[in-house]
Every structure is written in structure tokens, then in C-alpha cells.
């Protein structure tokens, strides 16, 4: 089953490049999304493995299901987006091929059982997503793509240095399989392990978008087409986080939990601080969502750093953020399509002129800042609770203060855009059903999660948290 996820997109990508047929591109993307969802659910029911290098376990099945959900939504949205798009057939085919390979390489990152293999797939995600960011072929998107490629490639090179240094510390084995690393965690020389963790955190953290390595993130998210922004924020950041989570587990097993926790707390607080600084006076609503992604990744890092109930909170936050942010970015695509401007000041009266978009925009805002009954409220509440449990009162105050600033920044922009008199829109009229359906499904999913966390979801999250 795993082989379907990895090989089918490659075949479809070749087909897309050879045939260059618009309708076929749309059909193939949707078909792969449907297959992906079916396989992910089947893998959830019975965990499987494919060669020693790929395996589903309790932790990565959560990441896989989140990827499946977001990808399905994006694929539905994509039907409308690609239909409307007037790019030449060649760009259209390249976009589809790269999208398919991008999803496959993220699947590879999530499922791989070998540190070096995971690193190779992270490199593949960078290469395949760069064309997606460049898709509009404007000067701004070229700049964003160049920054994305260059900064992320430095991050990937640094993560590789961390891997080499970790290998130096392996005394009795030369295997980088996570199972072997975990089994021999006590034998790894502490000097090398302590040196390699921050280097790998910085390297993989560049792709996660932790500040201060986040410079590529707002540019790439704001200049890429909205379905791609949704994928970058909802799935790519998670996939890169997988690397950190796996190495963090190694630190815990090697008895250096405190060391890793402090580093994660530090990087998490820097991230939410940086996003608060920028978000409070933001002018561009897509960049606002990008900074919010930095903030939420920072919150996940803090949850991981607090430990205890924070682990469960981290997993819940990860799932909830991906789905909320995907809905948010897709809705921002509708606004951009209608107003042809990413400037907050140009958009007014969404609720009057296009109530469906307006309400989605407001609901996504409520979801992302954690207004109950949305699940992000639950995860942030749990994070705060576990901070109290561990006696981090000063950190808790700072955490809540920074979250409030972020909330105020996003809230100011969203409310200004939603209310007021309807202004004349420069772009086209509202899109079809497919431009709205995924977001409503996402919101419904979030409300179900937030109001009554279903038993199987809770079990899924608990099992994943137990493997952190």
C-alpha cells in the first residue's frame, strides 16, 4: 500500500508531462488525492511496512492522515483553480507533475525509518515545491522562489552536517535507522549527540520555519498560488517537523531530555515573538497567515519543550493548525481572486459582498486564534496547563502575552476586511462550489474535533504523543 503512495504519483507525473492535457491533469490530481485518502485510512486500520525503509507507526500515521486530509481539500479546490488558470499547457503540466512529486516526497519524509533517507526526501520536497512557488512567473514569485531555494538548501546542508556529527558519535554501530539509533541511544557519545542536536534543529528548523531561520516563509507563502500556500503551511512544515520530532526522541532516550527541551522552548519563544512583532502591523493578508504559521510552529515547539501533557497538546495543535490554516489559505485565495490585491486596506465588506467568503474568513480566524469551541483552544489550554504543572509561571505569562498580541494582530486585519460597506471588487465574481466546499468541510471537521473529541481521534493523538 505504501508503494502506491510513493510510485503512483511518479507515474502520473510522467503522464502529465507527456500528455499535457488540462482536463487530464485535474483528473489525475483528484484521483491521487482520493487514492491517498483511501490508503491512509487503510494504513490507519492496519499498520504496514514497505521494505525496511518505510513503515507506518503510531506517530507518523497522524502526520499521514493530516497530509491526506489537507491534500484532499486542496485537490478539490485545485479543480476550480486550474480550470480558471490560463497558464500555457506546459506550465500547467509542470505544475501538476511537481505537485504530485511534492506530495510523494512529503509522504516519503513522513514514512521513512532511516534518518538519511528522510533527509533525502526533505531535499526532494524543496526541489519539487520550488516550481509551485514560481508558478505565477512574476518577478515577485521569482524572488520568493530564489530565497526559498537558497535558504532552505543552506538549512538542508546544515542538517546534513548535524547528521555527520551524529554519525561520529555512534560507537558500536554504523546504522542510521531510527530503531537502531533508539536502541543504542545510551551508547552514543554524549559530546557528539549534544553537538549534533542543535545543528539538526537549526537545519530542519529552517524548513519548519522557526525564527530566526524563517526569512523564506512569508515570501514563499504569499507569492505562491493559494492551493500551494495551503500545502506549504498545512503539510510541508509538519513534514519537516517530523525530522525534529524523531531526533528529539533520540535525545529523550539518551537521557538528555532537559537539553533538547530547553532548546525547543527557546526556539519556540523566539518564533512566537518574531511573529508577534510582524503581525501586529501587517499590511498583506497572505503574509499575515504566513507569520501565523511561524507562530503556530513555535507553539508546537513550546509544547514539545514543556513535556508531559504538552506532548498531547503538540499533536492536537499540529493536526488542528494544519486543517485550519489550509482552510484559511484557500479562503485567502478566493479573496485574492475577487479583489486582485493582497493588501488588507483594499479589501472591505466581505460579509456584505460575498457572505460565504466573509463567514469562512471569520470562522478561520476564530479557529486559528483558538476561540472555543475550535480545537486550537483545547491545545493551547493544555499547553498552558502543562506549563503550570511544571512550574513555568514566567514562561506561561510570556506565552499568553505573545499569543494575545498575535491574536490582536490577526483579529484587527480580519475584522477590518470582513465588516464595513462592500467595495467594488476589481477581480472576477465568486468562484464555483469547489472554491468553498473544502473550507466548509475543514471547519466542520474542526468543530467536531473541538466540541467532542471523538474517541478514535483522541486515541490516535495519545498514541502519537506516547511516541514523542
Amino acid at each position: 500500500m505504501i508503494e502506491t503512495l510513493l510510485f503512483l504519483p511518479v507515474i502520473l507525473a510522467v503522464l502529465a508531462l507527456v500528455m499535457r492535457n488540462r482536463t487530464l491533469n485535474i483528473i489525475m490530481t483528484s484521483a491521487y488525492a482520493a487514492v491517498f485518502m483511501a490508503v491512509a485510512v487503510a494504513l490507519y486500520r492496519s499498520h504496514a511496512a514497505f521494505t525496511p525503509y518505510f513503515r507506518v507507526d503510531d506517530l507518523n500515521i497522524l502526520f499521514l492522515l493530516v497530509l491526506a486530509a489537507v491534500f484532499c481539500g486542496v485537490a478539490v479546490f485545485n479543480i476550480d483553480y486550474l480550470k480558471k488558470n490560463e497558464a500555457p499547457a506546459k506550465s500547467h503540466a509542470l505544475f501538476t507533475a511537481n505537485l504530485l512529486i511534492f506530495i510523494a516526497s512529503m509522504t516519503g519524509v513522513i514514512l521513512s525509518t532511516h534518518l538519511a533517507l528522510m533527509w533525502v526526501f526533505i531535499e526532494a520536497t524543496t526541489l519539487s515545491s520550488s516550481y509551485l512557488i514560481y508558478f505565477s512567473h512574476s518577478d515577485a514569485s521569482l524572488e520568493a522562489t530564489w530565497k526559498y531555494l537558497f535558504i532552505c538548501s543552506i538549512g538542508i546542508a546544515i542538517a546534513f552536517v548535524g547528521m555527520i556529527i551524529l554519525s561520529m558519535g555512534l560507537n558500536h554501530s554504523d546504522s542510521l535507522f531510527f530503531d537502531d539509533l533508539y536502541a543504542g541511544a545510551k551508547n552514543i557519545s554524549p559530546f557528539w549527540l549534544k553537538l549534533s542536536f542543535p545543528i539538526m534543529l537549526a537545519g530542519f528548523g529552517t524548513k519548519v520555519g522557526f525564527a530566526p531561520m524563517h526569512a523564506w516563509l512569508p515570501d514563499a507563502h504569499s507569492e505562491s498560488p493559494s492551493p500551494v500556500s495551503a500545502l506549504l503551511s498545512g503539510t510541508l512544515l509538519n513534514a519537516a517537523l517530523m525530522g525534529i520530532v524523531r531526533v528529539n526522541r533520540l535525545m529523550t532516550l539518551a537521557g538528555m531530555k532537559w537539553y533538547a527541551e530547553n532548546l525547543l522552548l527557546a526556539i519556540g519563544f523566539i518564533s512566537i515573538f518574531v511573529s508577534a512583532v510582524y503581525i501586529i502591523s501587517i499590511k498583506n493578508y497572505k503574509r499575515m497567515l504566513a507569520y501565523s504559521s511561524i507562530e503556530n510552529m513555535g507553539i508546537i515547539a513550546i509544547c514539545l519543550g514543556v513535556g508531559g501533557a504538552g506532548m498531547f497538546a503538540a499533536m492536537l495543535h499540529l493536526a488542528a493548525h494544519s486543517i485550519t490554516k489550509a482552510a484559511f489559505f484557500l479562503t485567502s485565495g478566493n479573496i485574492l481572486h475577487r479583489f486582485r490585491s493582497k493588501n488588507i486596506d483594499d479589501v472591505r465588506g466581505l460579509l456584505r459582498s460575498d457572505p460565504a467568503t466573509g463567514w469562512l474568513w471569520m470562522l478561520c480566524f476564530a479557529g486559528i486564534v483558538g476561540i472555543p469551541p475550535f480545537p486550537i483552544f483545547l491545545s493551547e489550554f493544555l499547553a498552558a496547563k502543562s506549563m503550570i504543572d511544571t512550574g513555568m509561571i514566567a514562561q506561561l505569562i510570556l506565552f499568553l502575552l505573545l499569543l494575545t498580541i498575535n491574536m490582536a494582530g490577526i483579529g484587527k486585519a480580519v475584522l477590518r476586511m470582513s465588516f464595513g460597506a462592500a467595495v467594488e471588487a476589481a477581480g472576477e465574481p465568486r468562484g464555483g462550489l469547489f472554491s468553498y466546499l473544502p473550507q466548509w468541510v475543514f471547519i466542520a471537521l474542526l468543530l467536531v474535533m473541538g466540541v467532542s473529541l471523538p474517541g478514535f481521534v483522541e486515541e490516535l493523538l495519545h498514541k502519537a504523543a506516547a511516541m514523542l
Binding site: L127, W146, L149, S167, P218, Y278, I282
Partner: protein, 211 residues
């Protein structure tokens, strides 16, 4: 013999930090590729001939010949020879690079006393090269110099990987994957619009997107 080669490798970085001629950067990169080729032959110590052939081809043909020739071509075609207006002067650049090397050596010899399984000479020079490569990226202003700084950093990583090649040969082969990025950059500079809009310009032209 190995030690001399590694010292020469370190010297290329010091040379790069004082020069402002782009052609000298290219020569330094070619020299690094050649040194890596010798090190692969002398020190790789593998029993797998396929691996050895692949790596010696990669270092000699790609790192020492193909990439430098292509860089020369791009430089001549665009008529850019100098790194103008560096953010730091050559003198302070040399001072900073020297400091990086001194700290790198100090740390690696200090660490060699406390941990086993480490070759301080390799480690010191390669870590210093990686940091100097990052420093060059930060302190220079042309896009093509950024790409060359990345190459030097990547050569440093290759050297670091070579130091554990006896235990884990596949790590060295994996490092080659970083060359894919370089290929993408060079193709970008060559084929794409980047060439017209960016290759001769400052990174200042990459500052339209900001808050």
C-alpha cells in the same frame, strides 16, 4: 600527504576571503575539488570499487572541472569580474576568517582530548570551511558569489563526511546530493530569467518582498 592536502584546502578559504576577483573564487573552488579528489583516492579506504569510481568521478569531473568551467563561462558572458562594494573590507574579512579557523582548531583539538573517534585536523578545517562559506554568503552582495559561497560550504561538508568515510561510506555519497542544488542554481543563472534580472545585480534587488 593527507595533512598537506587538507592544509591546502584550508588555505584556499583564506585566499577567497581576501580576494575580490570572482575568477579567483572559481579557481579556489576548482582547487578544492581537486584536493577532494586526491583525498578520496588516498583516504576513502573503501572496498567497494563502484563507490570509489563514482566519487572520484564526482570530485574530479564535476567539482574540479565542470562546475568551475561553467562558472567561468557565466562570469565572462555577463562581464562581471569583481565583487564590488563588499559589506566588509578585505582586511576585516581576512581577520574574521582567520578567527573562524583559530576557533575551529581550538575547539577540535580541545574536543579531541575528551572524545574518541575524531580526527581533529579534518574536523577543524572542515568545520571552519563550512562556517567561512556561510560568512561569505552573508558578507558578499552578488548572487553569483552567494552560489559560490554555498559551493565552498558544500565542499567543507564533503571533507567532513570524508573524515568518517571508513565507518560510514554511504554518508559521503549522500553529500553528493547537495550538488543537485548547485546544479539548479547554475541552471537558474544560465537558462532562466535570473540571468537577465539578477546575476549581475546585488542582493538588494531581492528585497522587494518585505514587511
Amino acid at each position: 600527504m593527507i595533512q598537506i592536502a587538507i592544509i591546502l584546502f584550508g588555505l584556499t578559504m583564506l585566499y577567497v576571503s581576501v580576494t575580490s576577483r570572482l575568477e579567483s573564487y572559481v579557481k579556489a573552488i576548482a582547487a578544492q575539488g581537486a584536493i577532494l579528489f586526491f583525498l578520496v583516492l588516498l583516504d576513502y579506504g573503501t572496498t567497494n570499487p563502484g563507490n570509489l569510481i563514482f566519487l572520484s568521478f564526482e570530485t574530479l569531473a564535476v567539482k574540479a572541472i565542470a562546475i568551475p568551467m561553467f562558472l567561468m563561462y557565466v562570469i565572462r558572458k555577463n562581464g562581471i569580474y569583481r565583487e564590488v562594494e563588499p559589506s566588509v573590507t578585505n582586511y576585516s574579512s581576512l581577520a574574521i576568517t582567520t578567527a573562524i579557523f583559530a576557533v575551529g582548531f581550538y575547539i577540535s583539538y580541545w574536543a579531541a582530548g575528551t572524545v574518541s573517534n575524531m580526527r581533529p585536523f579534518y574536523f577543524g578545517i572542515s568545520i571552519s570551511t563550512i562556517v567561512t562559506g556561510l560568512f561569505i554568503i552573508i558578507s558578499r552582495k552578488k548572487i553569483i558569489t552567494h552560489v559560490m559561497g554555498y559551493m565552498m560550504m558544500e565542499n567543507g561538508i564533503f571533507l567532513l563526511a570524508l573524515s568518517i568515510a571508513r565507518e560510514m561510506p554511504f554518508i559521503v555519497a549522500l553529500g553528493v546530493l547537495l550538488d543537485i542544488f548547485i546544479a539548479v542554481y547554475l541552471l537558474g543563472l544560465f537558462i532562466n530569467k535570473v540571468q537577465d534580472s539578477y546575476s549581475d545585480t546585488h542582493i538588494d534587488s531581492l528585497a522587494k518582498l518585505k514587511d
